[in-house]
Amino acid sequence: MKTLWNILVVDDEEAMCESMAAWLREDGYKVDTAFSGRQAVELAREKSYAICFMDLKMPGGMDGIETMMELRRLNPDTAVIIITAYATVDTAIAAMKEGAQEYMVKPCNPEEISLLVERIIKVKRLQRENELLRKRLLRQYEFRDIITKNARMQDILALTKEIASLRSTVLIRGESGTGKELIARAIHFSGDRASRPFVSVSCAALAETLLESELFGYEKGAFTGAAAQTKGKFELANGGTLFLDEIGDISPKLQGDLLRVLQERRFYRVGGSEEVPVDVRVVAATHRDLREAVRQGHFREDLYYRLNVIEIFLPPLRERREDIPLLTEHLIERIGNEVGKDITGVTDGAMRILMDHHWPGNVRELENAIERAIVTCRGSILTEDDFAFLAESVRARSQWVLPPNMTLQELEKQAIVATLDRTQGNIKEAAAVLGIDRSTLYEKIKKYEIPR
């Protein structure tokens, strides 16, 4: 694999250049030679070099340090090793200051050079590997993974790209399971902050005091059990993006605290007296109509306007049915790989069921349905039988008789209690069965005061 790496040897003495190049070629590297700084720069414009051996003193206008600066401007990743016959502390310092990786006095011990080249290549290989893994990770959140041909969704994706590198707060609205967090991640990972952290907090999952310390961190001794100073999500997300899911559920006090951070970009840790500055882009999400919550006095108007600088409304799946075949294909491929089953597609009958279903839990419900069908199916194509549970649930719904004098809220509470009972309190499972996400379930448990 050594041939992947290009090395450049720059020296005005041809014998020095060529003999060094020949020695390195025996090690399997691709080596070019240049007899002047200018020639080196020309070569570096065409090709990127992993390592450059550069003579310090060269006639003809450009010396080693000048050439190195130009090479590093063309390709900052090139490791430059400055070689000189006459070492002085001043030139060594100057070379290192301008970014030389090493400074060597010729003639060099072959062992020393061999180890140095090996060490640099090893680091470069790790960097390349890291970059590849990072790209693979980023790809999970790239736009191409948001599968859609729906015009409204396409507009949303275009907007998402445009605003990715801004600092403005974004408010994402949409029903549970429409992919609010996916959009938030897409904004983060396609903008300037992609290399910085993306931190996600579900505001519905935690009680007010817990959420406060979760967001802002706490000082040692701030409360019982606060054994050491702890960073909150705002600090952890510094330089990056903080995703606040179910923002509509936070208490009036936290609304005030949040407004202060958004306005002043600084906050106090719980129990702290020192202000902590922070550079965080906030992306908030809610399934609630916040404008209505403001009108009813449940949500601060100033915070609403602060959050709602850019608003994205994600349509429910039933309003973008044309995406169902595409999503199905994508999910089958992904989940099939995950569970190790080679599923090639769905029958026409099964697709009809999927197209006709109401999908109250949106894409997440579709994902769960496909996962369930893949796990239980026997063949390599998902059939109507594999999705029979969807039809049954529809039938069960239509045959079910509503008890008299029951409010919608009581009905919802009963459904949650029954499901939690069936899943023996397993939130993840219950949320999947109910077709809502975990944070929504937590929020409803809190709202209906369901004992757990």
Partner: protein, 183 residues
Amino acid sequence: MSRLYVAAVGDVSQANLALALECVEQEFQLPVVGLPAIAEPPGAFDERRAQYRAVDFLLAVVRSSPGDGKVVALTERDIFIPMLTFLFGQAQLGGVAALVSAARLRQEFYGLPADAAVFRRRLRTEVLHEGGHAFGLIHCPDRSCAMSLATSIQQLDLKQDAFCAGCRRALAERIREFRGNEI
């Protein structure tokens, strides 16, 4: 006919030349012919370093090549390239000439008592190494293979005077090509 030649640059003992010739014949499986000694190129000696320029020596070998094969040459001189303090040998990668210096292969160079067996083993290893380069082989990661890089006598002594299975296969392929080219 594709041949391998063995030659001395300057004074080299008959015994060492015979050793190199035997080793080349055995490992490269080609007809080997001894060439008359090649004169040391004038001006190759660097007074400041008290060493000889490897490139000048290698060019002298190229100039003396009969043109129908590759030449593995031996010298007793301590050789160098400007960038490095010393070399055990140098070759044109996939080219005509390979050069091995015996100067640093002797125990005496390191202040130790002479050991003919150790010297012979080292010489064989380096002849194979530089000869392998002349056939286009690059350094092998297997530390015990003759084609691995040795930048010190300790590393050289870790090597065997034989190619590893992978290098042997690659060499056989190159030798086939070499024979094909010459027909």
